[in-house]
Amino acid sequence: MTAASARPPQPTMTPAPEASSVLVRVRGLCFSRDEQVIFDHLDLDIERGKVTAIMGPSGAGKTTLLKLIGGLLRPDAGRIEVDGQDIGTLSRRELFELRIRIGMLFQSGALLTDLNVFENIAYPLREHYRLPESVLRRLVLMKLEAVGLRGAAQLMPSSLSGGMARRVALARAVALDPMMIMYDEPFTGQDPISMGVLVSLIRQLNDASAMTSLLVSHDVRETLSIADQAYLIAQGRLICQGTPQEIARESSPWVRQFVDGLPDGPVHFHYPAPDLAASLLSEAHR
């Protein structure tokens, strides 16, 4: 049984006025944090019903992009439209109505540490719908079953491993059966078996309930295996976009280095820093 087979009553979905195939449209996005420019006129489209992968080096701003799309951060310039609505112009109430339809799996899990696993997943359901306890229980246990953690329902988040916490967070992100889910590194800390299950679960969820999935991950092979479309971002710009096949054929040295995981190439492993020998010498002088 998949997590998507039973759905709570949906809020009346307002279909986008122009039900276009693009769910998230990012145009001219600029964002910086304490002098550091993270996005510099970024353009990006996320298509409805597809699994879109966003990849890029650590610190490229992938998490930041998800937070911008979710309205947790405000862009300095440019616009972000989700389902035809400009995030920047929404009132707080409208933003909350939109967020009910967006699930997000945080990189850190972000589980409520005062509630056990069961209550964590029940939380969004309790907040937004009045469901009889028996129905709620069935829904929650089904979500937990899908991520293989039904037996952990009574544990507190503090006694979960990192990988388990992330799977619980995934179950919570899909609890409201959103139209779009943003996964921030769902595969980190998963063993090969649960990794395989999660990879197919994400694909399955996407197809079974016509969801749109936004997948941020460093696991290039797994990610490309389920993505319909992939974007590579670095240094605030879009480096490359296309289907996994196109990415695999791409010959630019940057893309090759990233996809093949080579230490040397146009991308530097090191955060910008002065020469190592020079730094060590100047330390010694002090």
Binding site: K67, G70, F96, S108, A110, L112, E127, R172
Partner: protein, 259 residues
Amino acid sequence: MINALASLGHWALNTLATSGRSLLLLLGMLAGLTSLLRRPRLVLLQIYSIGVLSILIVVVSGLFVGMVLGLQGYYVLSRFGAAESLGVMVAASLVRELGPVVSALLVAGRAGSALTAEIGLMKTTEQLSGLEMMAVDPVKRVLSPRLLGGFLSMPLLAALFSAIGVLGGYFVGVGLLGVDSGAFWSQMQAQIDFSNDLVNGVIKSLVFGFVVTWIALFEGYDAVPTATGISRATTRTVVNGSLAVLALDFVLTALMFGD
């Protein structure tokens, strides 16, 4: 010179911005109070963790403060042959001043610091952002019940502090120093005024409870999301909360009892 001016200006701007943010947060929390009518459990939980869990420290401190008042009061009053007024003196100082003020200081130290650390940690671990993304307003759901809980707990704690303090004073004055028991109670009954003393004391503790909880919640919500940030915020809660209580006590006393 220029540097000093610049840093003064910087400080002033920062203070102004902080005040603005704390005021905005307060408005948000007040707006969230109405939604608590449907979720009284959230408030009860906070009354438990802010109020009930502070009972022990309040009772013990109240007892000692009352006993000290009994001792000091007896020495001064007996010099004027007015030892029978000990009851009035102990009760008036407790109900008007020491009850509200000391219990507010205790709450700022015990419950206020805990609130700041809790909210700060929820921010650091992205639990607040997580709530936002679930379309749940953390200010309404997490902060408002705590504000109301602190506001309601404070007068009860202050009353408890005063009651235990009077018993402590009685124990020392009547039990150990031989003041007449009947005089102790009857003078107290005759001299302590309901609206002048009791109501004013309750108003004070309501104000203190509100301000201490507000400061604690704001510091946690505004904390820099790091370990150092939270520890600084916790310190600021205790320092600012205590100073605010003492300063407000002066203002309120002047308004209530000065004529």
